[in-house]
């Protein structure tokens, strides 16, 4: 949830504070209730509750004489947002400053132990035990590198940690089940929770493995394994365009990302549909056999994409089930070598999903990650990886990554089962322009305007559209802070109908090719209760007499209707949130990449 940045370099070429501030602004989406920076060799700490702009006010105007530093944006897990709880944290004598992402599970015991021998704590965070543990080791005569290592060895839980020491022009770092990448630059070295944080400086990266220790210096990086032996690291080049992290003229990243969907889908499809063979091939999965059984594990929006996927696979004869990753447990769900466990995670760092994948790995299941981030933990820890190729997504609310997850999973279902048709391939290839046509001509903004003061928003769909009803409601909740629920339409009369009034618009996903008559029945149910009905449909003529408004989508293969319909719901949520003046890209209490369980 939190974000870390670190830098060691030559001051003349690149002021440390500038690199750290820029990095933090790129990491802000991961969490933002407070932020802070520490620089060495003096160990000066600047930190503040609030947004990054608040921190920038506390930074000195004059350049500081520093060659190394660390920075942090915090999303609270232990202790409320406050100046004290903001990272970096220091020891009693300000000899070391530490930033941390993750959760230290045994921090209570460690803190009691340290307080007993006289350490004074300033914050309520789990993190603060780390600088005090380091201090204790320094007092025993350890050098900074050993003191850092000794402190880390005491920790239980998940962490990415970086530290600077008084008198040292370097940054010490390590990770265990929390992301941390290193960057190599002509003028120094960097580290961060994810690549976009430093992509404006370098595209040469080293992915640190769990349990490895890194030291970054102006002259370069040094990586050692758990036992202290030097590791020969491989440097990879990432091909993301750093300025993709810019809003390119849009008011919000979310809107930019919604409009980027035709391009993202093009990238996702590229080279995969085979028009002459009337098949789909996924190069990176060529050695993956047809699975007998599949478990999808995912959270949030990715879970909705997984629900969509299970239907595709089941229809093609594969037993497929979607699980919320946080609820996945091989002790209660039978898993064996014949099971393919698919982790769907945009960031590849979602802690719940990673845990579920590790558990599945542990019992011998074959694992596949469907992710957007090359080199992410999910990509590295699974047997197979399929990339959704959406490009960087900055808005906390997932949009283009959901569209590409759906397209990728649809292709996966064809590639793994060998079941395809000419119509399926043609419909895939038609998606970019069909999404563009929705963006060119959507009425979502005016409909959002009409219902901006509704009591609640309900979304209903059947079959392939049911997951999109859930996703439409999630998007609405996330960015508008209004009550929204999605239901399988048949469930309405088993309870939710009691909530339906003339002040609760119902958004009905009506696909002319499947379950259309049944959906129309559900529409008339809510219509009879006086609720405004907005039909999202590829067959306006069929529903328009029962709907107050129609959001139309192009006619497509019925399996792809949900991909198109969802675009209208994204726009709807965006325009309601925009009208309400919400913090659309960084909704309250939410973070982009959920790296705690």
């Amino acid at each position: 949830m939190c974000g870390i940045i670190g830098y060691a370099g030559t001051q003349a070429n690149r002021p440390v504070l500038e690199v750290l501030s820029n990095g933090l602004s790129r990491l802000e989406y991961r969490g933002y209730d407070s932020a802070g920076i520490a620089v060495a060799p003096e160990v000066s700490v600047y930190k503040r509750k609030g947004e990054l702009e608040d921190l920038e006010e506390t930074l000195p105007d004059a350049p500081v004489d520093a060659l190394a530093g660390i920075g942090h944006t915090r999303w609270s897990t232990h202790g409320p947002p406050s100046d004290e709880n903001a990272h970096p944290h220091t020891d009693c004598e300000d000899r070391v400053a530490v930033v941390h992402n993750g959760i230290i599970e045994n921090y209570r015991e460690l803190r009691d132990e340290l307080e007993e021998v006289g350490h004074i704590f300033d914050s309520e965070t789990d993190t603060e035990v780390v600088p005090h543990l380091i201090e204790a080791a320094l007092e025993q005569g350890a050098d900074p590198g050993s003191a850092f290592r000794q402190a880390i060895e005491r920790l239980e839980g998940s962490y990415a940690v970086a530290a600077v020491f008084r008198g040292r022009e370097e940054v010490y770092a390590t990770r265990y089940q929390s992301p941390l990448v290193l960057g190599l630059d002509e003028d120094g070295a960097l580290l961060a929770s994810d690549v976009p944080a430093f992509l404006e400086y370098t595209d040469e990266v080293v992915y640190l493995e769990d349990g490895q220790f890194a030291t970054i210096r102006p002259s370069g990086i040094e990586v050692r394994d758990q036992l202290g032996a030097l590791v020969d690291v491989s440097v990879e080049t990432v091909d993301w365009d750093p300025e993709d992290a810019g809003k390119s003229g849009y008011d919000h990243y979310m809107l930019k990302e919604i409009y980027e969907q035709p391009r993202s889908i093009r990238e996702c499809l590229r080279g995969r549909p085979q028009p002459f063979e009337e098949s789909v091939s996924i190069e990176e999965l060529e050695d993956l056999p047809r699975p007998a059984e599949m478990h999808f594990v995912a959270c949030g929006t990715s879970y909705h994409a997984s629900l969509y996927a299970t239907r595709l696979f089941r229809e093609r004869g594969v037993r497929a089930t979607a699980f919320l990753a946080s609820e996945y447990d091989v002790e209660t769900v039978p898993v064996d070598e014949e099971t393919l466990v698919v982790g769907v995670t945009q960031s590849g760092e979602t802690a719940d999903t990673l845990r579920a994948l590790r558990t599945a790995n542990g019992v011998g299941a074959r694992t596949l990650a469907v992710t957007n981030v090359v080199g992410s933990s999910a990509a590295r820890e699974t047997d197979h990886t399929m990339y959704i190729r959406a490009g960087p997504e900055i808005g906390v609310a997932a949009t283009k990554t959901f569209a590409t997850q759906q397209a990728a999973l649809a292709m996966l279902s064809s590639a793994l089962t060998g079941e395809c048709s000419r119509e399926f391939v043609e419909s895939l290839r038609a998606l970019p322009d069909q999404i563009q046509s929705i963006l060119d001509d959507s009425r979502a903004e005016e409909i959002a305007e009409e219902y901006v003061h509704a009591d609640a928003y309900f979304f209903i769909g059947r079959g392939y559209s049911a997951p999109v009803a859930l996703e439409g409601a999630l998007k609405m909740k996330e960015i508008t802070y209004r009550h929204a629920e999605g239901f399988a339409a048949g469930e309405l009369k088993h309870g939710p109908l009691a909530l339906v009034t003339e002040r609760t618009p119902v958004f009905a996903l009506v696909n002319g090719d499947s379950n259309a008559e049944k959906m129309l029945g559900n529409v008339t149910e809510v219509e009879a209760r006086g609720a405004p009905v907005v039909a999202v449909t590829d067959d306006p003529g069929f529903v328009e007499t029962h709907a107050d408004h129609v959001l139309s989508v192009p006619d497509t293969h019925w399996r792809f209707f949900p991909i198109l319909a969802n675009v209208q719901l994204q726009l709807l949520a965006y325009w309601v949130a925009n009208r309400l003046g919400r913090s659309i890209d960084k909704p309250r209490n939410l973070a982009k990449s959920v790296t705690v369980e």
Binding site: S248, R266, L269, G271, A430
Partner: protein, 399 residues
């Protein structure tokens, strides 16, 4: 190419719809219409970067999302900044909106006309500290439809006028300017006029007040599409001048599939993700945008086919311009020009246009087109129809 160019930033004017290009501009502005296989504006960016520009400031307005989504925040590693002109109040108004994004001397250029980098370099090379502005000029026999500029023997501009008809020896205004901050001030000074105002009014004011405005006469390539069917000539000009290479041995891109039995006649340009079916004949002078599909035994000649378009089996497509996502059905025939094209009350006779199909026209197959047909967006043409003249968009047409 002038690599020592001292001017680093450019303002690109791309806010206007380009109404004369209707119906292709229903969903995107003229700068986003295809020249060969990429938008006109992308060519403009390329030429600016080739001429040494390292900062692009684009004034967007009509259907601005299309521009922003296409280019994002950088193009070829050059940062792109967007300035939004809500109402299209003219090039002068647009220029002033962009003023705060540039420092010192800047290039200002129309985003809806194709120029090559030589014209830009010539204007920058001619510009010196004595001049408040420099305009790139071309020697053309017919200046009347465009902007005309008179210069004296020292290359100093003496008169700027639109659609000159007085028989003087006018140069054509290429729409490429090098402006000092004082030129922005002059544009501001004429702003008080009600309604639209042109940056040319500002330059005329400089000329009238005796400030130096240079005319840089260039021999570089300059092509403008005045009417939608001109896109065919624009693409042909790009092939003929070598701005785009239509003779690549490897046609298209590695993600494009061309059947072994298809015949490709150069010059031709095939973009990514395309499919050309068995027995199809493509070219010469054919541009296929991204993700287009050519059915088996279809024949295409001198056509600009935009992204995501599908051409059915056995269709004949000659002298045709399509928008995006068009479907030309199996066996349909667009026989090629010349034909008379009717726009409003005006008839343009003997234009080399087979048919123009705007975005997402669907032809269900077996449709015959009388040369010069213009079909509006989303028109649904039923099987066996004969299409002649101009069809409004969004309708269903049967014979």
């Amino acid at each position: 190419m002038d690599t020592d160019m001292s001017v680093s930033s450019a303002v690109i004017l791309a806010a206007g719809e380009g109404k004369r290009l209707r119906p292709l501009t229903k969903y995107r502005p003229k700068p986003m219409l295809p020249a060969a296989t990429k938008p006109i504006l992308e060519h403009v960016f390329d030429q600016l970067i080739d001429a040494g520009i390292s900062e692009l400031v684009v004034v967007v307005g009509y259907r601005h999302e299309r521009v922003q989504s296409h280019f994002g925040s950088t193009y070829r590693n050059v940062p792109v900044t967007y300035v939004f002109q809500e109402k299209q109040l003219g090039t002068g108004h647009a220029l002033l909106l962009a003023e705060s994004e540039v420092d010192g001397t800047s290039v200002v250029i129309n985003g809806d006309q194709l120029v090559d980098s030589r014209i830009i370099s010539d204007a920058v090379g001619e510009h010196d500290s004595a001049a408040t502005a420099t305009m790139a000029l071309l020697q053309r026999s017919n200046v009347e439809p465009y902007g005309g500029v008179l210069i004296d023997e020292d290359g100093i501009v003496t008169k700027i006028t639109e659609n000159p008809r007085d028989g003087h020896d006018y140069h054509l205004n290429a729409g490429v300017y090098v402006l000092e901050p004082a030129a922005f001030d002059a544009v501001r000074a004429v702003e008080s006029q009600i309604g639209e105002h042109s940056l040319l009014d500002g330059l005329s004011k400089l000329v009238d007040e005796g400030e130096i405005v240079h005319g840089a006469v260039s021999e570089g390539l300059w092509v403008d599409a005045t009417y939608p069917w001109d896109l065919l000539d624009v693409s042909s000009a790009l092939f003929d001048t070598g701005v785009v290479n239509g003779n690549s041995k490897i046609v298209g891109h590695e993600t494009t599939t061309v059947h072994d039995t298809a015949v490709i006649s150069e010059p031709v340009l095939i973009d990514r993700d395309c499919v050309v079916g068995p027995g199809a004949v493509v070219g010469p002078y054919v541009c296929l945008g991204e993700n287009t599909t050519i059915g088996s035994n279809a024949v295409l000649e001198r056509s600009v086919v935009d992204n995501d378009t599908t051409i059915g089996a056995n269709a004949t497509v000659v002298d045709c311009v399509t928008g995006t996502g068009v479907e030309i059905g199996p066996g349909s025939t667009i026989p090629g020009g010349p034909g008379d094209v009717r726009v409003g009350d005006t008839v343009y006779e003997d234009e080399a246009l087979g048919a123009l199909l705007a975005d997402r026209v669907v032809d269900r197959g077996g449709v015959d087109y009388v040369p010069g047909a213009l079909v509006g967006p989303e028109t649904d043409i039923q099987t066996g129809t004969t299409v002649r003249g101009t069809l409004a968009g969004g309708t269903e047409v049967r014979s």
